[in-house]
């Protein structure tokens, strides 16, 4: 050195060192154009679907009907139609034939005093608006519109699936990169392996959680801006639960991905090593698509750690979870996350210096 110095630096304490590693992960990721562009697209899709939902949901036009004579008052009374007054039944019929209106309502004999004329099928919605219906009492009314439930289920599924997979693969990739470029040897000689692992998990979890949080905020703001505040009040609590479950669930997956990355020495071998974890992420996604309306399957899903981040928020949204259920499930999830971190750290430590052929899981656990 040009300036001989006797100052020796001592390694930073665990937490600052973890943060240094995490900060590098975040900085490098944010510098990657591919990452920025794909996140941008994901956010645009979310915002787009919220806004589109607002436009198509809000401007639903009333069904058009033509009415003749005394039927006009009866029809207008319902406030559920856009009424075109015509002079004769013939005229009304021709409007129905050319498609200007969905149906015509004309005076007739009988208890209702109206006849609905339609083209080739019975216009049930119009008929029901004009019918006298008996009182209906539901013993267990469903709070939610089934289509909306489906959308929310898919949204939780897709967002968890895509974020967990993207960021999980990133962790595995970053572990393999360090092994492949051999910088890991310098790092291991500098800081404890557990600090390195913790930093990686923290950095990528912060990114993943940040992305999910931005998506949640965008969805919230989008819903408010397009006047869908009732929907927001419905979905809001489940989104908050989703965020909490995602945070814990992702850390668990991150530990697994890091361990998988440490087993191989080349990017080419990474796919094979991460496949089992990819499956664990994919299965809940497929299940929720098929069983979003099956309370039994959802109940199981909401307690299994790998599917809880999708299952529990959905049950909260459906209103079929007791208040304590998310808490119990969260405790199970956090406990499994801790176990997974311990196992993952072991595999990671044992796998890091083994170059060449992929290390067998058994060997990595044993050594």
């Amino acid at each position: 050195m040009s300036t001989p110095s006797t100052t020796r630096f001592s390694t930073p304490a665990t937490l600052p060192a973890v943060w240094l590693v995490a900060e590098r992960e975040i900085r490098m990721r944010l510098r990657s154009k591919a990452f920025l562009i794909s996140s941008g697209i994901l956010m645009l899709i979310v915002l787009g679907s919220v806004v589109a939902g607002g436009i198509f949901g809000g401007n639903q036009s009333l069904p058009k009907v033509a009415a003749v004579g005394t039927a006009v008052t009866a029809v207008e009374k319902t406030d559920a139609f856009e009424v075109t007054e015509v002079a004769s039944v013939d005229e009304a019929e021709s409007l129905v034939r050319d498609g200007t209106v969905e149906a015509a309502v004309v005076p007739a004999e009988g208890p209702v005093g109206l006849t609905v004329i339609a083209f080739d099928e019975v216009p049930n919605s119009i008929v029901s608006m004009l019918s006298v219906a008996p009182n209906v009492e539901l013993l267990e009314p469903s709070d939610q519109n089934p289509f909306l439930v489906y959308l929310v289920a898919i949204a939780f599924g897709v967002i968890f699936f895509s974020s967990a997979l993207t960021f999980g693969q990133m962790i595995a990739q970053s572990v393999v990169e360090e092994k492949q470029t051999r910088i890991v040897e310098i790092l291991m000689a500098t800081i404890p392996v557990r600090v390195l692992l913790a930093g990686k998990i923290l950095g990528n979890s912060v990114l993943a959680f940040g992305q999910i949080l931005i998506i949640a905020l965008l969805a919230g703001v989008g819903l408010l801006a397009t006047g869908q505040d009732i929907l927001l009040a419905d979905v809001g609590p489940s989104i908050v639960w989703f965020l909490i479950f995602f945070a814990a669930g992702f850390v668990m997956l991150a530990a697994m991905f890091a361990a998988a990355g440490a087993l191989v020495s080349r990017q080419e071998d990474m796919g094979t090593a991460t496949t089992p974890i990819t499956m664990l992420i994919m299965i809940p996604y497929i299940l929720v698509i098929f069983f979003y309306d099956n309370p039994f399957v959802l109940a199981i899903m909401s307690y299994v750690p790998f599917s809880a981040p999708i299952g529990m928020p959905l049950r909260v949204f459906l209103g079929i979870a007791e208040w304590w259920e998310p808490l119990v499930s969260l405790v199970i999830l956090i406990a499994s996350t801790l176990v997974m971190i311990v196992i993952g750290a072991r595999i990671y430590e044992n796998g890091l210096l083994r170059m060449g052929a992929p290390v067998k899981l058994k060997d990595a656990l044993k050594a």
Binding site: T11, A17, E185, L187
Partner: protein, 294 residues
């Protein structure tokens, strides 16, 4: 002073290190020489604590090394590696900070070092855009950024052109002058000969020789002399106690039975003709190396 005491290490059935013991003295450059697969890298990994020995210990100034002390070592592994997509200076600063430097200290130290190593213009370039030789210089900076307590370099000169070797050499010498033990391995015996103060020779996982360069050389120097006379040197053949190995006109190489015989030969040479050259033959490092690893 860094000391290794009877280190043993096996990989499966293969015994890679057998009772390896040697000393690396502070303020001196120690060359670590051995053939391929002799156990150099394994020994260095054991010093760094990246690998644990099966038995034996490493001590610094008499006390067993702690993990915390090891983090104050500087290490350049045989397999070079830096993050390819990080900028050169940023990377060295990162490593400095992992060693506990503040952001400012790390930045100053990284820039000074890179400047000295001739990478001053490339601070903002990504590592992958550097030539291999320049990546190697950056690697040296990575090992030195935190002014380590002990410096361990595995093949620091491989892949460098002669000018770069000179640059790196000066940086390392200056560093050793601060009093830290420096150990480096190399295949290039001429460089080791020129640079190191002490030598450790390893073969088949065993230390075959260790000590100061001069000491080793003296131990392996035969009582052999070379002489170049203005006139004929034929009379040497009849001199008692002298065995002539090579002879051509005024030039001869001969072994003597004692120091006094050599002095007698010299006096007679001066009295008979002009003496252009009279010198003990010193073996080169590669000769010693070949001898001890056999």
């Amino acid at each position: 002073m860094l000391e290794l005491h009877a280190i043993n290490r096996s990989f499966g059935e293969r015994r890679v290190l057998r009772d390896v013991s040697f000393t690396v003295t502070g303020g001196r450059m120690t060359g670590f020489v051995g053939g391929n697969g002799a156990g150099k890298t394994t020994t260095m990994r054991v010093i760094l604590g990246v690998l644990a020995p099966d038995s034996g210990s490493v001590t610094l100034d008499g006390a067993p090394l702690t993990a915390e002390q090891r983090t104050r070592f500087g290490y350049m592994p045989e397999e070079r590696g830096l993050y390819p997509k990080m900028k050169v200076a940023e990377q060295i600063v990162y490593l400095g900070r992992l060693h506990g430097m503040s952001a400012d200290q790390a930045k100053t130290s990284a820039e000074t070092l890179l400047e000295r190593l001739g990478l001053g213009e490339r601070l903002g370039d990504t590592v992958e855009s550097l030539s291999l030789g320049n990546q190697q210089r950056a690697q040296i900076a990575a090992a030195l950024v935190h002014s380590p307590e002990v410096l361990v370099l595995d093949e620091p000169f491989s892949g460098l052109d002669p000018i770069a070797v000179e640059v790196v050499l000066n940086v390392l010498k200056d560093f050793a002058a601060t009093g830290a033990p420096v150990i480096f391995s190399s295949h290039q015996l001429d460089i080791v000969e020129r640079l190191c103060d002490d030598l450790v020779v390893i073969a088949d996982g065993e230390i075959r020789a260790s000590g100061s360069r001069e000491g080793l050389r003296a131990a392996h120097t035969l009582p052999r002399y070379e002489i170049q006379l203005g006139g004929d040197a034929g009379w040497l053949r009849d001199e008692p106690g002298v065995t002539v190995l090579d002879f051509a006109g005024g030039h001869a190489v001969f072994d003597v039975d004692s120091e006094s015989t050599a002095q007698r030969v010299l006096q007679r040479a001066i009295s008979t003709s002009t003496v252009e050259r009279f010198a003990p033959q010193v073996p080169s490092l590669s000769q010693i190396f070949k001898e001890v690893i056999q």
